[in-house]
Symmetry: C2
DNA sequence: GGATGTGAATGCATTCACAGCA
DNA sequence: TGCTGTGAATGCATTCACATCC
């Protein structure tokens, strides 16, 4: 199932998550049906874009009516693969790691945290949510036993590649990487990077831009 | 200064942060000069892309030689606006918020955290790093006094719009939003979203895709 | 010889605009 | 009439390829 008709643009897939988020909000508000126009407006997109994105995956709108909220949610979850529980492990029990371990939203989105690991022996045994921090040596067995397919890496930059290698060896299929380095993996292991500092830099750039075009800022070196 | 010649593609600006990160690593390794080719290879990009991205902002390479690491770092920081300290406040002192408050890398990138705020009175007064959690009522004055131009929002989805409104009123120019909702702001206030669950969903999608094309997975509904 | 900077060509993603259906 | 689904047109970003310079 979930046969993307031809090739799906990557930005379209990214927007699927947005649609799903919005639809879940609509469901809570008891809205049963939504048009591409109104869905688009609420997300600052165009109606054509919404329709095209969804159409990559099939036809689930009704002309003259729109999209039914609940069936569309179901379908989007199927497409994203979150209609089943996705077991996920976390590497790195530092500040960020422990925040992520208790980020409840992951669970509501279909991700179940099944293990936390840290190379620092001082942290082994520590309790994090309902989980106990384990040493890296346990990684292989834990991944196999739990069937975890995704991992979140919240480790220092200089540890990231080595951790990624271990994750690959353990059989993980996707890595959400918070470390500010690119890691190399085989083609069948997907990595997504979240670089929080880089995001702040982008903001800084934009803020400067608007300042400059406003002529608000004098021309310093 | 920093006059982007004509219009700069947004993806190019995003890559600037990557280049800067890589160049800083090269500087530590005492590398003085780098070609677009080698910089590109280390980031999985093409040499032409690196050259074009940089060329949007001027000509700082030397034909036959490449780019000088240190001057290019300086220039990129100017472009991104992080050559000066950027004062930043944090809203939300929950799990994620406190992890961000102690995320040391922000400081090394030029961002100085100058205040932490939370609407929950129970958290006011709590110590977070070198800062004390303040009530939202202090926001206006704190932003004005500190000159903070950026804010990081680590608040629940249902609080996000209201917090954003307060930030705008206080004079913040850019918001890094971790809450899983779109917030509306005036045109001169930039918002960047980080939706961690959405990133996991993307991973999930990709992992399913590779599984499917491998015919590893049977066709369940 | 080795590398940059950049117009021209290509390749994608978005938007348009409309046929067709409820 | 209202709205979807989708080819065709447009608009951007990436890549090519080469003149230019160290």
């Amino acid at each position: 199932m979930t046969p993307p008709r031809s090739e799906v643009p990557e930005p379209a897939v990214r927007r699927l998550s947005l649609y799903l988020r919005q639809l879940e909000a609509l469901k809570l508000k008891q809205v049963t049906t939504i048009s591409s126009r109104r869905l688009a407006d609420s997300l600052d997109l165009t109606d054509a874009q919404v329709r095209k994105d969804l159409a990559y995956f099939g036809q689930f709108g009704r002309p003259g009516v729109g999209y039914e909220v609940i069936p569309l949610i179901t379908r989007l979850r199927q497409i994203l693969g979150t209609d089943r529980v996705i077991r996920t492990i976390l590497i790195g029990a530092g500040n960020l790691g422990s925040a992520l371990a208790s980020y409840h939203r992951f669970a509501t989105k279909g991700f179940e945290m099944v293990g936390v690991f840290d190379s620092d022996p001082a942290r082994n045994g520590e309790q994090m949510g309902h989980l106990t921090v384990q040493p890296m040596a346990q990684l292989n067995r834990a991944v196999r036993d739990s069937g975890a397919r995704l991992a979140i890496m919240a480790v220092p930059a200089d540890a990231a590649q080595s951790v990624a290698d271990q994750l690959v060896k353990a059989g993980v299929r996707g890595i959400l990487n918070f470390a500010p380095v690119r890691v190399t993996t085989p083609d069948d292991v997907t990595v997504h990077d979240i670089d929080m500092s880089a995001e702040l830099e982008q903001l800084s750039f934009r803020v400067n831009m608007t300042d400059v075009s406003d002529n608000t800022r004098s021309k310093a070196v």
